[in-house]
Symmetry: C2
């Protein structure tokens, strides 16, 4: 499903050049459950952005379902992102003036579903993460963990086959974190592919494989 | 140092009323190290905002250093916040268009220090959290954990006597998290007061006392 060959990503601001990723080689099959770990600043979110077709490598090649992402046009990329990928961002990226329900409904806008069906699907997704009572609140009226759960509900509302979760339980108490991990385990069991950034070893152990990054390079890639 | 008596906080949006805290009674001495735990949405950040003089209770009384916070004027509150309290927010609240260095220097603007001294203090604070290499980057050019560390450096730059940290290691890998906890332990050993929200039991155990919230009420308050 995923084939990264010699992928590099650098950022330049003025005379400063930051090498976020170098020479990354990574191959992931459909229905795998991969944990991505590594120190703060080691390139995990950068890698997730490339995997999720939100960003392109500075060098190297990325094939998603055998298609070279760097050759696709914007509308093709946004189709893949919207239909096939669910992304839980490390900093959530919720629309600040929209309610939780509106935020979760957003990915369904291009699905062709009727407004009633979209609303019902969004409500079901929010119920899965325990937020039915808070649907009409905007992000500033929600706790940190509640915002994280809205981001999770939004990522899952389109039934994506690839789930990219960047520290999805970072703001959750243990019990809620366990419920979210159980939800993700269920989605994986249904045949989907999960790639999760985490810095917690017991969360990483729930995956089938752990890829560790250090200074933009893959340091190890081993089954759990 | 801290005396909360029968503190309640509710939010009203339209016809919805959310009771974030009810009847909270809490007493904290100077130089204590208190961990605050509880489920997502239980009122931890709301309590931290009141403790940090950023918000006032809807009912009840809050004494900080024997002064009733609800009777103080805005400029008196902002003096206390600036001089005596260092707040690490759950969602960081960094200025998006300022560099890490500018963000950390901000609390020093009213300190009366010269520009050179402010810059030196801000640089020292960033070095303490391992970010000397990233001082000239703006938040969008930093990783999640790097932004969290800028927020920590900013909270500590004024040598506050009360440190309020809302999940300060949530976005950090284990090793960096340990370094930050060691830094906080040192500040506590120097005589300061620390109140930290965390959902991780091994982090909470480093405190002298654990206060647990549930549905806006204190469920338990025990020494570790
Ligand atoms: N401005 C607001 N308007 C309405 N409700 C609010 C507002 N701010 C917070 N709340 C509600 O108050 C409750 C407590 O929020 P708070 O942020 O204190 O929780 P928390 O314990 O910090 O949670 P988390 O662990 O998820 O960060 C939540 O149920 C939240 O939805
Ligand atoms: N737009 C940018 N310009 C310059 N440097 C950047 C930019 N975005 C990210 N970086 C740098 O690239 C490196 C990798 O960032 P990335 O966000 O991928 O790290 P991460 O592994 O997700 O870290 P964390 O665990 O702290 O979230 C960091 O050192 C960061 O400072
Ligand atoms: Mg990251
Ligand atoms: Mg909170």
């Amino acid at each position: 499903l995923i084939e990264m060959t010699n992928v590099s990503k650098s950022y330049e601001s003025g005379s400063l050049k930051v090498q976020a990723l170098s020479g990354v080689k990574l191959s992931i099959e459909a229905n795998e459950y991969v944990a991505l770990m590594g120190p703060s600043g080691s390139g995990k979110s950068t890698m997730m952005n490339i995997l999720g077709c939100l960003d392109i490598p500075t060098a190297g090649r990325y094939l998603f379902a055998d298609r070279d992402i760097t050759t696709l046009k914007d509308n093709q990329l946004s189709e893949i992102r919207n239909r096939q990928i669910g992304f839980v961002f490390q900093s959530f990226h919720l629309l600040p003036r929209a309610t939780a329900l509106d935020n979760v409904e957003l990915p369904l806008i291009y699905s062709g579903l009727s407004p009633e069906k979209r609303r019902a699907r969004a409500m079901a997704s929010l119920e899965q993460v325990g937020l039915s009572e808070r649907m009409q609140h905007t992000p500033s009226e929600l706790s940190g963990g509640q915002r994280q759960r809205v981001a999770i509900a939004r990522a899952l509302v389109n039934n994506p086959s690839l789930i990219l979760a960047d520290e999805p339980t970072g703001n959750l108490d243990s019990k809620t974190g366990i419920e979210i991990m159980a939800l993700i385990a269920t989605l994986h069991a249904q045949g989907n592919t999960v790639i999760m950034v985490t810095h917690e070893a017991d969360i990483a152990r729930q995956a089938g494989r752990i890829v560790k990054l250090r200074d933009g390079r893959i340091e190890s890639d081993l089954p759990t």
